[in-house]
Symmetry: C2
DNA sequence: GATTCAGTCTGAATCGATACAGAGAGGTGC
DNA sequence: GCACCTCTCTGTATCGATTCAGACTGAATC
């Protein structure tokens, strides 16, 4: 049995309170006694106050949870998620707070339980999919949280950090439209919960599953509507996951028809890279060239020459954690929109004349 | 005030125990009553048993700590660390366990405190530097741990997962020696706690600060000793940090002397990439060519054409977590050595004739 | 009809600490 | 000499649950 605080108290012949004070409030007792207590503790092998008991009594834990609604182990393979985590960890570090990464089991009930059982003082919710249930649990627990996904029904007092998805998407689509592209495919991950890989039909961007996807597709559509190409003329393609492989699989066959798209706008850089992979693998090679765009501007995008929209990933994480760790007095300041920038590289070009 | 378990008990008119059982041991009460309790809880907005109180009583937390002795936010920039984390997270996920990432403040006392205060059931200690103090704290707390850095005084019962650093280093050095290189520089991060960037002198590999560095340098030395080049003839170069920039800064001027090294063996891929950066920047370009090797085989190594030693990073993380989460009955099985492989790419070649 | 047993539910003890009001001792000011 | 502080330290209540031995109920067994 590990010794408890009581054991130390007994050994020194003081009260429990005093030993507690020796650790947590050195100003509440004489230096001499404090030394004596700390020595005794060392001798007994007392490792300091039990963190759990302390948290229970104090009412806070000293760590924040980070929630990925996709698989936790997947998150580590996503460069954007990693940048986000880097930002969070920097802020946590400065604040002396630990980060609890909570894996969510596939079954909803278990996942709820996981969020209910997380010993944290608040959550950074990095959500890629439908998340309402998680936020419900967090609110029920009375814990503060910061979300990064746009939500349709966000309360005014809800802390949030994100970008203007729609405007950002529009900017890259406008670039592509400006190059003359009119036969265009839009590629996104999990457009609908159960859609198969490949082309899918939606009556509009608003029908997409993820809020993020909704925003981006709407932005893409905006830009093309402006040049007279309406939603029905755009080909929407679904990928089963945010990975190069999934993207490549999704666009397989896309270019084999009589009037293949001349451009593919992807909802993420990862997907765009997968499209480039698929194009590189084609027997015909990349002739005629197909313009491809991504979203996020992850490090790999630069070396791949991918045209994309940059969003400050690390800063997003940093700000999310800071909003959580020291909330602004002004509620309006809890709602942060970060700037984005169109980054034009070699992966987009004018429509080839056929 | 959030309702407590007691409040639910009062509302339904049953004892606290029964409500507790409704959540944790459904077989201990009738289904009807359980439903009634759960309904009442929902109505009252009771979010389920308080995780901290539960942990205190049960004696375990349901999460494992991951300890980086370097900065936590740095870890996210190191591809090897990320792969390791991916492995850990996969295992944690399968086990239904959360991961607590504990940032360590720069001051030793604060860092101790951080380890003492972490609410976890055990630690995966991913250590790049001197770590004894952390292990001391963990042992004092009576918590299990798995370490990944070779330790000179490891107890037989200590769980460990790693590679044969020395043999692995020797294999890549032997490859370089086999190509005829005799004027060789060894580059490592933080060779000594306070060494400046650039060449440093050590009387032997055993004097290096980090256990990992000790092993790798010794392996390098082994291979060259075999072809008649002894330690004193090797140039040891210190980098201030494991980053491309630090490596580039460390080798600045290294090739300006009358008899520059024809090869640089780096202690990590990151450092090796930094050396390549530095070489690419030289006015003379890469002529005569300098052979460069790394260590780890991170993803970037392949695209950079870097000769290196592969070690299974993700598996290292996975196994570390598994050793922690379900310890093998057999103590010997708690000591795992993973295989490594020499990966020869374009960054090494025969000594140029001058 | 007594015994046994499974199925439900309860009560008290416990996990390991912290908070806070207050008790004593010793020193100051007037 | 008395009131008033300040400095240390103590005792009790409390944080929010889980555990476990046992009480009760009703049905089955002999």
């Amino acid at each position: 049995m590990k010794p408890t605080l009581q054991a130390v108290a007994d050994a020194v012949g003081v009260s429990r309170s005093t030993v507690s004070n020796a650790y947590s409030r050195p100003d509440q007792l004489s230096t001499a006694l404090r030394e004596r207590i700390l020595d005794a503790a060392r001798q007994l092998g007392y490792p300091g106050p039990n963190p759990t008991a302390r948290s229970l009594r104090r009412g806070f834990v000293g760590s924040i949870g980070v929630l990925f609604t996709s698989q936790l182990s997947y998150a580590f393979t996503d460069p954007f998620a990693i940048s986000f985590l880097t930002g969070v960890s920097g802020a946590a570090e400065r604040h002396g707070t630990s980060m609890l990464l909570v894996p969510l089991p596939p079954a909803q009930t278990d996942a709820r339980r996981a969020v209910e059982n997380a010993a944290v003082d608040g959550f950074c919710v990095y959500c890629v999919a439908d998340e309402e249930w998680a936020l419900d649990v967090i609110r029920a627990r009375g814990l503060p949280y910061v979300s990064t996904a746009p939500r349709d029904d966000a309360g005014a007092d809800e802390r949030y950090v994100g970008i203007d998805e729609r405007a950002a998407a529009r900017s890259v689509a406008a670039h592509v439209a400006g190059l003359g592209h009119r036969r265009v495919a839009l590629l996104a991950d999990a457009v609908l919960p159960d859609a198969p890989a490949g082309p899918v039909t939606l009556s509009g961007a608003h029908e997409a599953w993820h809020p993020t996807t909704r925003g981006r597709l709407a932005g893409f559509a905006d830009a093309f509507a402006e040049v007279g190409v309406d939603w029905a003329e755009l080909t929407l393609v679904n990928a089963l996951g945010n990975s190069r492989q999934a993207a490549a699989a999704a666009v397989a066959g896309l270019f084999d028809g009589p009037v293949p798209p001349t451009a593919v706008l992807a909802g993420s850089d990862i997907l765009a890279l997968g499209v480039l992979d698929a194009l590189a693998q084609r027997p015909g090679g990349t002739n005629p060239p197909v313009s491809v765009t991504g979203f996020d501007d992850i490090p790999e995008a630069a070396s791949a020459g991918l045209t994309t929209v940059r969003q400050p990933a690390e800063e997003k994480g940093r700000i999310a954690a800071e909003l959580l760790l020291d909330p602004p007095a002004d509620a309006a300041a809890g709602h942060v929109l970060l700037p984005t920038a169109l980054v034009v590289r070699a992966s987009t070009g004018p429509v080839p004349r056929s």
